[in-house]
């Protein structure tokens, strides 16, 4: 089957986006209110049951969807805005400057998002924004590397050399010839990164370094569910499933995009 991963990935992401959009306008219950008896099994009116406090799990999952998407997309956008120009400059530069930029990105690669988040949480207090910033910074090097490698490939192509020889300013070359040609690679990277960012956010929230109590995210819900793991394991299942599906969705979408955009790979597949 052609493009099956693209279809499945798109479907999963579509489902999550739809959930998030619906959550903006309507929710079964207030996600932060304690609306029923605690530890209710799935049923009616609490479709997925209630958590250890009596909050409606379905509402919290829906509310968490928009926050997870927001964190994933914003942190990847932030990383791209910083990482792509740096990568392109590093790739186009033929002097030592490009190498320095690339090595600097490698050094940043050595700092895991977790460490940055702990630093930020210690200095600024843990919140959705510090988690987002930490994930964004940790994602920057990946963009620098990909953008640089792709740029170097494009720079060797005839039409770029022609443009340069005809005296087109470097900035114009980057904008007109390099960026459009490396865009597909970056798109794939972005999709995969969003999945990773959602996973990273879940990890940070699970450790208490992410969003606050009145801003439920799936990672946070997992953490709250942990204490009930033995008597009410289902509470942990729902947010865990949501995280897994979101990450899978973005990864499949990334894979699918790559197959779709890269004809050479398509032929092999």
């Amino acid at each position: 089957m052609k493009h099956s991963s693209l279809a499945v990935g798109g479907l999963l992401i579509g489902l999550i986006v739809a959930t998030a959009v619906v959550g903006l306008f309507w929710m079964p219950f207030d996600p932060n209110a304690l609306v029923g008896p605690r530890l209710q099994a799935p049923g009616w009116p609490h479709v997925l049951g209630t958590d250890a406090f009596g909050g409606d799990i379905a509402s919290r999952i829906i509310d968490g969807a928009k926050r997870c998407l927001l964190i994933g997309v914003v942190s990847v956008l932030g990383a791209g805005v910083v990482g792509i120009p740096v990568g392109v400059v590093a790739g186009m530069s033929r002097s030592w400057f490009g190498d320095v930029l690339a090595r600097a990105a490698d050094i940043l690669y050595g700092f895991p998002a977790l460490l940055l988040a702990i630093l930020f949480a210690a200095a600024l207090g843990g919140s959705t924004w510090t988690a987002m910033a930490a994930i964004a910074i940790a994602t920057v090097p990946a963009f620098v590397r990909i953008a640089r490698a792709a740029t170097m490939q494009v720079m060797g192509l005839g039409f770029v050399e022609a443009a340069q020889l005809s005296g087109t300013p470097t900035f114009q070359v980057a904008l007109r010839h390099v960026l459009p040609n490396i865009a597909p690679v970056l798109g794939v990277q972005a999709s995969v990164s969003v999945g990773l960012a959602i996973l990273a956010e879940a990890g940070l929230s699970y450790l208490g370094l992410g969003s606050g109590q009145d801003e439920p995210t799936w990672g946070r819900m997992l953490r709250e569910a942990q204490d009930q793991l033995f008597n009410a394991p289902l509470i942990a299942l729902w947010p865990g499933l949501a995280i897994a599906l979101a990450t899978l969705g973005f990864n499949l979408l990334g894979d699918g995009l790559r197959d779709f955009l890269d004809p050479r790979l398509r032929e092999i597949a």
Partner: protein, 506 residues
């Protein structure tokens, strides 16, 4: 990985495993020699240092007090004073002079006898050394002099009557250190208790070995290991799988069902001195108004909170007094009944009819985030918007406890008889009530014990009527042991887990 490299990797893995197995067997153990009986106790609060006189934080005393270190008098599990190093004591009729008879058998682990002179050395260090914590040095505030009359007789003279003083001496303030070991207390505890400090694997465990020359009746085990768990679930599963012999205090009451098998586990529920307090910053404009504080007290359904947060284990207290202190007043428990309507009226009276917004900054301790979630929900119902901020305990200590940067916070106050903290205007609540401070001081210096108890009861009532805080609940002491273990106290009256009488049938 190519096949050859895979074989190499597997081989090296096997070698490492074999080495680990060899390391596990004990070559020093002769056949027939009984294996030492060591109890593994799961605990949550790891100490931050080894000298209870210079380290604040309850973790140090929890392990060392009564186990490695001893005091003149000790607190038994019923919150009563009992002889320890002092076999008996008398108090002069004017309540100012205390005469202690030191047990002539008592000696330190080093062999040096515990003399009145040794007590004087310890007490004078606590009174004069600058590095001593205020919790310890404060215990000596009423003391005028400490003298050794002879080897076994110690006379302590107070400059004012203090009914609470002797009680303080049963805690870390009253520890008698080996005078020869004072220089190295940070690394090598030197006491007279039934256990010797053996080792501390930071972040993981503390090992105590039984003192073979203990002067009193010691435990019937060869040692204990306190194993520290950051995650309560990990501790519970370790207990279920048999890696632990006891859990010193269960922090997820919902997990009790793991220990229902009576052929394997024994569960006891006792009392503690841990009042879980919703503290108000009295410098906050809204919270400085009595009606607002009363409104919050009316708005929170503490019974429901206890059910949600701590599985209805523990007690409701209504003031800063645990149920087993003599001045506990049951009528304060319902002084502010759950009444959202009245809460709204009180808020309107105070000028906050249109609502109020407060920051609740809490430590990420087992009771913190869960209590906050319930409180946020219940206060929202009366028009108070609560923004919850969670802090790691170290950050909480700095920002909330030290810098007082908060509106409301939640923390358990575990020190015994700590109502006096409300008399200190510099404490993190910024609660400045000279009348209360005077009431507590007067009660402590009252001519008779009855008047002392009455006075303390009055002080507790003053606190409640002024809604100085919202006392959410009293933490229970839920101890889980295997059926083989006996002698772990049911109540946690003192800061210590007293393992003097511990035994196992293993």
């Amino acid at each position: 990985m190519n096949p050859r490299r895979r074989i190499a990797a597997l081989t090296s893995l096997l070698v490492v495993l074999a080495m680990a197995l060899v390391a596990c067997t004990r070559p020093d153990q002769l056949p027939g020699e009984p294996e030492p009986v060591v109890l593994n106790i799961g605990a949550t609060l790891e100490p931050t240092g080894l000298d209870p006189s210079t380290v604040s934080g309850a973790g140090t005393s929890y392990v060392l007090l009564y186990n490695v270190y001893e005091t003149l008098v000790k607190l038994d599990e019923d919150n009563q004073l009992r002889p320890l190093l002092a076999s008996e004591w008398t108090v002069s009729p004017d309540n100012l002079t205390y005469t202690f008879q030191i047990d002539p058998n008592a000696h330190f682990a080093s062999g040096t006898p515990v003399t009145a002179d040794a007590v004087v050395t310890s007490f004078e260090r606590a009174m004069t050394d600058d590095s001593i914590t205020s919790l310890v040095s404060g215990g000596f505030d009423p003391v005028e002099s400490v003298e050794a009359q002879d080897d076994d007789t110690l006379v302590v003279t107070l400059d004012r009557v203090s009914h609470g003083w002797l009680y303080q001496m049963s805690g870390p303030a009253g520890i008698v250190y080996d005078p020869d070991g004072l220089e190295t207390l940070d690394t090598q505890p030197a006491g007279s208790g039934p256990y010797l400090f053996d080792s501390w694997d930071t972040g993981s465990s503390i090992t105590l070995a039984t003192n073979p020359d203990y002067w009193g009746t010691g435990p019937r085990v060869d040692g204990v290991v306190f194993r520290y768990y950051a995650d309560a679930n990990a501790m519970n599963t370790a207990m279920v799988s048999g890696q632990l012999d006891a859990i010193s205090n269960l922090t997820i009451p919902d997990a009790l069902q793991l220990f229902e098998d009576e052929s394997r586990f024994k569960v006891t529920e006792g009392l503690t001195h841990g009042e879980v307090v919703l503290g108000f910053n009295h410098e906050n404009e809204a919270l400085s108004v009595l009606e607002v504080r009363q409104a919050i007290n009316h708005a929170i359904n503490r019974k429901q909170l206890l059910a949600t947060v701590w599985g209805s284990k523990g007690e409701l207290i209504g003031s800063m007094v645990p149920t087993f202190d003599p001045w506990f007043d049951g009528s304060l428990v319902d002084h502010y009944d759950y009444d959202p309507e009245q809460a709204r009226e009180l808020l309107a009276e105070a000028g906050y009819a249109s609502g109020l917004s407060l920051r609740l900054r809490i430590p990420t301790l087992p009771y913190g985030p869960s209590s906050a979630r319930v409180i946020t929900d219940q206060l929202a119902a009366v028009g108070i918007t609560v923004q919850v901020e969670e802090l790691q305990f170290s950050a909480w200590l700095e920002q909330v406890f030290t810098n007082k940067d908060y509106d409301m916070t939640i923390v358990a106050h575990v020190e015994p008889r700590d109502i006096g903290q409300f008399a200190n205007p510099d404490y993190y609540w910024n609660y400045d009530n000279p009348e209360l401070a005077e009431a507590i001081a007067d009660a402590d210096a009252a001519p008779t014990e009855e008047e002392w108890i009455d006075g303390m009861r009055t002080a507790a009532r003053m606190l409640t009527e002024d809604a100085a805080a919202d006392w959410l609940f009293l933490m229970p002491n839920i101890v889980v042991t295997t059926t083989e273990v006996s002698g772990i106290p049911v109540n946690a009256a003192s800061l210590a887990i007293d393992l003097t009488a511990v035994a196992t049938s293993r």
